[in-house]
Amino acid sequence: MLFKVSTPIPKDIPLELPLPEWLLVTLLIVSFLAHIIFINLMLGGSIITLWAQIKGLKNKEYDTFAHEVAKTITVNKSMAVVLGVAPLLCINTLYTIYFYSANALTGFAWILIIPLVTVAFLLTYLHKYTWDALAESRRVHIGIIATAVGIFLFIPLIFLTNVNLLMFPEKWGTVSGFLDALVLPNVFPRYFEFLGACITITGVFLVGYHKRLRYRVEKLYTELTRNDLMKLGYNIAFIGLGLQILFGVVVVLTLPSKGYGFDVLISVISAGVMLVISAIYTWKSMVAAPENRIYYGKIVTFVLFYLVIYGGSRQMYRHNALSPHQKLVAAKTKEFQKQSEDARLHPVIETVEADTTLGEFAVGAGLFKKNCSSCHQEKEKLVGPPMTEMVSIYKENRDGLKAWIKAPGKKRPDYPQMPSFGSLSEGDLDELSKYILSINSK
C-alpha cells in the first residue's frame, strides 16, 4: 500500500459562536497579552532570582536582591494563572477542534502541566518562606528555586507544541505523542524567542521596581545603590532584547510557508523594529549617567507595542494557516447536519421481528427477544433464571409477573439485580407476560 499522508476534516460543534469572531479574536489577543506579561515576569523573575542567589553566595548584596525578586514571583505567578483562563476560554471557543485535537495528540504532556506547575508553585513558596530558615544551607535553598526554574522552563514547550500543532492538521495523522509534535518546525525558535522576552520584560520591570522613590533601597542594601539596581535592570533587559532579536530572525526564517502572507511579514518586521528601538533606548540608558536616563517611558511603550504587534502577527499567521481548512470543516459540518436531519425525518424503522408462526404469541415473543433474551433463555440459566422457572412461579399470577417486570426486587443472592422495565407499556406487558407464561404448555 502506498503511504499517503492525508489531512482529516473533522466536523465542528454545530452550535453558533456565542460572539462575533472579530470580538473573540480581540479578546483572545488582549487577554493573552495580559497573561503572557505575568508569565514573562514569573519565569524571568525566577531565572534572575536563581542567578542572583548563586552570585549571592559570594556577595551578600545579591542574596538580598534575589530575596526581593523572589517575593514578586509568587504574586506574579498567581496573576499569570488566573489571567490565563480568559485566553484559554477564547482559544477553546475560536479553534475548538484544532486546539482539542492538539491537546489529545500530546495528551500526557498536556495533562502533566497540572501537577508540574503545582509542584513548581509550591517550590516557589517553599523557597520564599525558608529564606531565613535555610540561611545556613544556601545550596539546598538554591536547589529549591533551581528545581522550580527547571519546571518553569519545560512548561512553555508543552504550550508552544500545542499551539503549533493546532495549525497543521496535515500533521495530525503523523504524530504519535508529545515528542513527535515537539520536533515539528518552529517550536524551538519560538521557545527561545519567548525566553528572551521573559528576560526583557523582567529587566524592564526591575528598572521600574527600583525607580520608585517609595522603595527604600538604602534600608535593604549596604553597597548597592538605586542607581546600580536600575542599571542592573537595564542590563538584564538588554540581554533579553538581544536574545529576542536573534531568535526572532530565526523564527521568521523557519516559519513554514503555509500561513505566510504580506500581512504577517509586515507585522513581524514592524515587531522587529520595535525590538531594535527598545534595544537602542535600553543601551542609551545603560551607558548614560543616572540623571540622563530619560527613556524608561519610551522603552516600556515600545516593548508593549512589540508585544501587541507580535501577538497580532501570530494571530494573522494562524488565521492564514487555518482558514482554507476551516472552510472545508464548515462545509463538512453543514453536509453532516443535512444528512443528520434527513435521517431524523426518515429514520430506519425498527420493527420487532414477529415470527408469525407463533400466532397470538408473536408480539410477545418479539418483545421478549428485544428486551429479555440477553439475560433469559428458555430452559437454562444465563444471567437470570430460565423462562421455565418464571412459569413455575407465576403460572397463576400473571399480574405478579407484570409487576415484577416493571419493578423487580432482588430475591436470589447469587444472581445480579434485574433492572426495571418501567418503559414498557401496559399493552406490551400484557403481550410479554402472555408469551412467557405460554412456554411450558408448548
Binding site: P8, I9, T96, I111, I113, W172, S176
Partner: protein
C-alpha cells in the same frame, strides 16, 4: 467522532477527571468559599475581644494568620491548578461536551473569569497586607473589610460554576431554546447552590478546627478558644447543610430520580447507595456532636476527634460529586448529548450509516471478516471508551463477565443481543449508536479481548488513523 481520543486504558478516563475535580472541590469549598468568611470572622473576634487600648489580640491574630497562610498557599497552588486541571482533563476526555458547553456558557465563563481575577487580587491583598494592616485600628478594620469582600467573591465564583454544573444535569428549557439565561436558570441550580453554600461553610469550620491543633499545640488557652469558636461556627451551618441536602434530593426531576433509583438499584449500586446515605448522615451528625462538645467542653477535644469527622466530610463531599456525575447518565448534557459524546439528534443517522463512516479517525469503514477485530476496536473507541476500558477499571470484559459468569468464554451472539437493548434495562447506558455490522464487529472485539488481554491505546501514544472518507483529499473530489 471528530476529535482524536485520549484514552487511559488502565485507570479509566473518568478517574482522571474525578481525582482532579474532587481535589478541587475539597479545596475550593473547604479552604476558599467556607474558609475565608470563617477566618475573617475570627480576625474580627480578635479585634473585638482585645482590650480597648490595643488594636487586636496579637497572639490570637498571629494564630489566625497562620491558618490563613495554609489556605493561601494551598488555594493559590493546588486549588488554582486543579481548577485549570478540570478544564484540561475535560478537554482531553470529553472534548465534544466541554466544547458545546463553552459555546453556550461563554459569557458566564467570561464573567466567571473577571470574578476569578478579582478574587485572586483580593486574596493577594488580604493575605500579603495582613501584618502591615496591624499598625492602626483603622487599617485593621479596612483589612477585615477586604476579608469580607474576598468571601463574597469566592462565593460568587462557586455560584457561577454551579449554574454550569446544574445545567449539565438538567438543561431545563435549554433544549427548546438554546440561550444562556435558560441554561443558568435551570431547575437544579438554586437547590444545588443552597446545598453547597452551608456545606462549604461547614467544611471550612472543620478544616479550621483541625488546623488549630497544629498552630496552638503549645498554647492550651488559645486552642480552647479556637475550638469553641469553630464549634459555634459549625453549629450554625451543619443543620442548614442537612436540610439543604434533603431539599436537593427532593427537587431532582422525577425522571432523574427514577433513573437514579434504577441505576443505584441495579447491580451492586444498592450497596453503594446505602453507603452514601450512611456517610452523609454519619458525617454531618459526627460533626454536629463534635461541635456540641466543642462549645461546652472545648478543652476535652483532642486532635483525633476532629480529624475523624474531617475524613467523613471528605468522603461525604467526594460521594456527593460522584453521585452527581452518575445520576446525569446516560447523558453528559441532559437530553442533548450522551455520555459517549454523541448528540441525541444524530442517532438516526448513525443507525442508518453506522458510526465508522462519520468518524474522522478510523482505520476502516468497510467491515470485512478480516478486519472485524480492528473495526470493532474502532467502534469500541468511538462508543464505549469514554467510560469503559479494555483491561482496566470498569473494563468492557468485566461488565460482561459479571453478567455471564467470570472465567467463562463470552458468547458473541449473547453480547451482540444484549448491546442494542442494554439501555432499556440499564437506564444509565446510552443506546448503542452503530449499525448491525458494527455491532457484530464490536461483539467479536469484546470476545477477542478475553483471550488477547489487549489494552487499547489512546491518541496520546498511538496517534490517529485518518478515516479516508473524511479526508481533505476525498472531500475535494
Amino acid at each position: 467522532m471528530d476529535f482524536p481520543l485520549f484514552h487511559l486504558d488502565w485507570l479509566n478516563n473518568r478517574f482522571l477527571i474525578a481525582v482532579i475535580a474532587i481535589l478541587h472541590v475539597l479545596i475550593n469549598h473547604g479552604l476558599a468559599v467556607g474558609f475565608i468568611p470563617y477566618i475573617t470572622w475570627l480576625e474580627y473576634k480578635g479585634v473585638k475581644n482585645s482590650p480597648s487600648n490595643q488594636i487586636t489580640d496579637f497572639e490570637w491574630d498571629n494564630f489566625i494568620y497562620k491558618k490563613m497562610k495554609v489556605a493561601f498557599i494551598i488555594t493559590t497552588t493546588i486549588g488554582a491548578m486543579t481548577g485549570v486541571g478540570i478544564w484540561f482533563s475535560a478537554a482531553l476526555i470529553s472534548p465534544s461536551s466541554i466544547a458545546s458547553l463553552i459555546r453556550v456558557f461563554f459569557w458566564a465563563w467570561f464573567i466567571e473569569w473577571i470574578v476569578f481575577v478579582t478574587e485572586v487580587v483580593l486574596i493577594l491583598i488580604y493575605f500579603l497586607t495582613w501584618k502591615n494592616a496591624n499598625k492602626s485600628l483603622h487599617s485593621k478594620m479596612r483589612h477585615i473589610r477586604f476579608g469580607w469582600f474576598l468571601a463574597v467573591f469566592s462565593w460568587i465564583t462557586m455560584a457561577l460554576i454551579v449554574a454550569i454544573l446544574g445545567f449539565m444535569m438538567d438543561p431545563g428549557n435549554w433544549n427548546n431554546d438554546h440561550s444562556l439565561i435558560n441554561g443558568v436558570f435551570n431547575p437544579i441550580y438554586l437547590p444545588q447552590l443552597l446545598f453547597r453554600t452551608p456545606t462549604a461553610m461547614l467544611v471550612g469550620g472543620v478544616y479550621g478546627m483541625t488546623l488549630a491543633f497544629f498552630f496552638a499545640r503549645k498554647n492550651k488557652e488559645l486552642l480552647k478558644r479556637s475550638v469553641k469558636l469553630s464549634s459555634k461556627w459549625i453549629l450554625v451551618w451543619a443543620p442548614l447543610s442537612l436540610f439543604a441536602a434533603f431539599n436537593y434530593w427532593n427537587v431532582l426531576p422525577e425522571a432523574m430520580v427514577e433513573n437514579m433509583s434504577t441505576a443505584v438499584g441495579t447491580m451492586d449500586f444498592q450497596e453503594y447507595y446505602d453507603i452514601l446515605k450512611i456517610v452523609i448522615i454519619v458525617a454531618i451528625s459526627s460533626v454536629l456532636i463534635l461541635a456540641m462538645f466543642g462549645v461546652f467542653t472545648p478543652s476535652k477535644i483532642k486532635m483525633w476527634m476532629v480529624v475523624i469527622p474531617c475524613f467523613f466530610v471528605f468522603g461525604f463531599l467526594g460521594m456527593f460529586e460522584r453521585v452527581r456525575e452518575f445520576i446525569r447518565k446516560p447523558y453528559v448534557i441532559g437530553g442533548y448529548m450522551y455520555s459517549n459524546l454523541l448528540r441525541v439528534e444524530d442517532y438516526p443517522l448513525y443507525k442508518k450509516d453506522g458510526v465508522l463512516k462519520h468518524a474522522t479517525y478510523a482505520s476502516t469503514t468497510e467491515i470485512t471478516e478480516e478486519n472485524k477485530i480492528e473495526a470493532g476496536r474502532d467502534v469500541f473507541m468511538l462508543t464505549c471508551s469514554r467510560c469503559h476500558t479494555a483491561k482496566g477499571v470498569n473494563s468492557i470484559t468485566y461488565v460482561f463477565e459479571r453478567m455471564y459468569g467470570f472465567g467463562k468464554p463470552l458468547d458473541v451472539a449473547s453480547v451482540a443481543g444484549y448491546i442494542p437493548n442494554m439501555h432499556m434495562g440499564r437506564t444509565y447506558m446510552p443506546p448503542f449508536p452503530g449499525n448491525e455490522k458494527e455491532l457484530d464487529a464490536l461483539a467479536h472485539f469484546i470476545k477477542s479481548l478475553q483471550t488477547s488481554g489487549e489494552s487499547v491505546e489512546g491518541a496520546q501514544t498511538k496517534g490517529v488513523k485518518i478515516n479516508p472518507v473524511n479526508s481533505v483529499e476525498q472531500f475535494k473530489k
